[in-house]
């Protein structure tokens, strides 16, 4: 984020605010309290710096369809943190943990202002646009200012060696194109306006599965899609990310602490890029998948030791590898290069040795046993036959079958193979070690390179690409999202 000086953080762009903003007819003191007098100290007496700190009192009179829900949203309550932390500890530890959270989580807490008026405190604050209430939060100055270390790096392609998400590169999509206002405000859009529209989720992965890949890709998935992998696996066996995501950031052993003057800080012992298919730790109707991508949780058994002993005494009642939805979707990935880059290839699966390799000894066992995959599933014996049947059906319907590595764009040099051999690629290739597969995939294909250059074209509006937070992100956003 651009460093904002103290005076700038309170400097209102008079022209912009009064010309553009519907709120500018409202008196400052109506929202902020305090007094309309010249003396600063007197003016600030009783003032409320963030009127949206109590959304219902501050905004609810005029936004009754939003404020009550936003006040109960995960962004505002941070209940997802509580859920994750309390699940791993006994009730008698919860008060101490709550005390800990009051130091370490409040900077992430998002009020209306953090999305619509100011940059979040976590990046130092400062108006988005001189106190104008911005309808669409500019993603790099709001969303990814908080969702920085994982989502931002994945989506923008800042993880070395991995291009940005196809929805950014090809689709030019902003966070809001999938995560709409309703979701951000904790509203279930399927419930009519005059009823209680609470989303009612106490964690980001236990409510409805929104947004859904299927809502935009309905015709391209499952049976009838004409893509071999989709035809064979359907839509419930594994999450889309199992095939369409690439490596993402995993963290371990985040420790929190505070200085003598009560300034909170944290350290992360280790973080690495990796891709792990595990068994679904949250299998339910909304998320029926047997296999999903899993990510190592940043918390370890001793993360909160500075606040008390053994606070996470139920640590292994939840897996340390959690359901994950990485934001780096690609059409082609190393694990889909051929059927055998995934089937029978332990490299991409969270096998028991990886538990030991990446976690602490204390993580072996417990709920992790539900996630770990003993060995990558072998290609079923009847796969050949199934493929033939699908092919025959699709040909009979007059279509062409994609996938199966046949059209792994660029990576295969565009060779048109036919028949069984095309799928099974003649044995040797399939068994090629995964590292080589990676290389040919990420290095070779021209198509991929085109994508990469599309990425640098993006640089112009992302403000220098390497750091989404470079100081020209502001202009960048404007140019990209149509300015104001």
């Amino acid at each position: 984020m651009p460093p904002v000086e103290a005076w700038q953080k309170v400097f209102i762009d008079r022209e912009a605010y009064f010309e553009q903003d519907v709120h500018s007819y409202i008196n400052c003191t109506t929202c902020h309290a305090g007094q309309n007098v010249d003396d600063m100290d007197a003016a600030h007496e009783g003032m409320i710096a963030d009127p949206a700190a109590d959304p219902e009192a501050g905004c609810g009179d005029c936004h009754p369809d939003i404020a009550p829900y936003a006040a109960d949203s995960l962004h505002f309550t941070l209940q997802g943190y509580d859920t994750a932390i309390y699940q791993r500890s006994s009730p008698e530890n919860h008060p101490t943990l709550e005390h800990m959270e009051s130091y370490h989580c409040s900077a992430c807490h998002a009020t209306c202002g953090d999305c619509h008026v100011s940059q979040p405190n976590a990046v130092g604050g400062g108006f988005l646009e001189g106190h104008v209430f911005v309808q669409t939060p500019p993603m790099s100055r709001t969303c990814t200012a908080c969702h920085g270390s994982r989502v931002k790096n994945e989506y923008y392609g800042l993880n070395e060696g991995y291009p940005g998400d196809v929805h950014l590169r090809q689709g030019r999509m902003a966070c809001e194109d999938c995560h709409d206002g309703a979701q951000m405000h904790g509203i279930d859009p399927n419930i009519p306006l005059d009823e209680d529209r609470h989303l009612n989720a106490n964690h980001r992965y236990n409510g409805d599965r929104e947004p859904k890949c299927e809502s935009c890709h309905e015709d391209e998935i499952g049976v009838g899609s004409g893509i071999l992998e989709h035809e064979i696996h359907g839509t419930e066996l594994m999450s889309c990310q199992v095939c369409h995501s690439v490596s993402y950031t995993n963290c371990k052993n985040c420790h929190v602490d505070k200085t003598e003057d009560d300034v909170p800080f944290y350290t992360v012992e280790d973080h690495w890029l990796g891709f792990f298919i595990g068994r679904n730790p949250l299998q339910n109707n909304e998320r029926p998948y047997r296999y999903v991508t899993v990510r190592h949780v940043p918390v370890d058994i001793n993360s909160f030791d500075k606040y008390g002993d053994n606070l996470l005494d139920q640590f292994l009642s939840r897996p340390t590898w959690e359901y994950a939805t990485p934001h780096n979707i690609q059409r082609n990935t190393p694990q889909t290069e051929s059927c055998d880059s995934c089937h029978g290839n332990d490299e991409f699966f969270l096998t028991p040795d990886k538990l030991a390799q990446y976690g602490l000894d204390s993580e072996l066992g417990g709920a992790n046993l539900d996630v770990v995959v003993e060995h990558a599933p072998p290609l079923p014996e009847n796969a050949d036959e199934l493929v033939e049947r699908i092919k025959a059906r699709i040909e009979a319907e007059g279509g062409t079958l994609e996938g199966g590595g046949m059209e792994a764009e660029g990576a295969q040099g565009g060779e048109e193979l036919s028949g069984d051999e095309a799928f099974w690629g003649g044995g040797e290739e399939e068994n090629a070690p995964a590292e080589n597969a990676d290389e040919s995939f990420w290095g070779g294909g021209e198509e991929e390179n085109t994508d990469q250059s599309a990425e640098s074209a993006d640089d112009a509006f992302w403000g220098g690409g390497d750091e989404g937070g470079a100081d020209n992100t502001e202009n960048a956003d404007d140019a990209f999202w149509g300015g104001n």
Binding site: E5, I12, R14, V22, Y25, I26, N36, D38, T259, V263
Partner: protein, 105 residues
């Protein structure tokens, strides 16, 4: 993408126009049905309809009638200071805060 400042700006101008008109006529307009301000549903991104803004003005009018002066912006002491770069530079205190944290947050 979807920014509607232009529309808002125009709507605002129209609204102010109507407000002035309404203020001029308020003596004879005995409208006691203060329409409640009802922002549109969240999942709509249509530009602000002028009607919404007129409603704001109308309810303001009502409040004026009941003695709550809310419709006109009057907090110029706050505004003048917060738009005066020199004064803010003189008054603002740079917080001393260094970031002790390490690693991805």
């Amino acid at each position: 993408m979807k920014k509607h400042y232009i529309n808002v700006r125009w709507s605002l101008l129209v609204a102010i126009g109507l407000l002035v008109l309404a203020a001029a006529l308020s003596g004879c307009a005995a409208d006691t049905t203060a329409p409640e301000l009802q922002p549109r549903p969240t999942d709509e991104n249509a530009p602000t309809p002028v009607a919404d803004l007129v409603e704001v003005s109308d309810s303001g009018m009502e409040m004026e009638g009941t003695g709550t002066p809310e419709v006109e912006f009057t907090d110029f002491a706050c505004l003048d200071c917060h738009t005066d770069e020199e004064q803010l530079k003189a008054l603002a205190v740079e917080p001393e805060k260094e970031n002790l944290s390490e690693g991805p947050g």
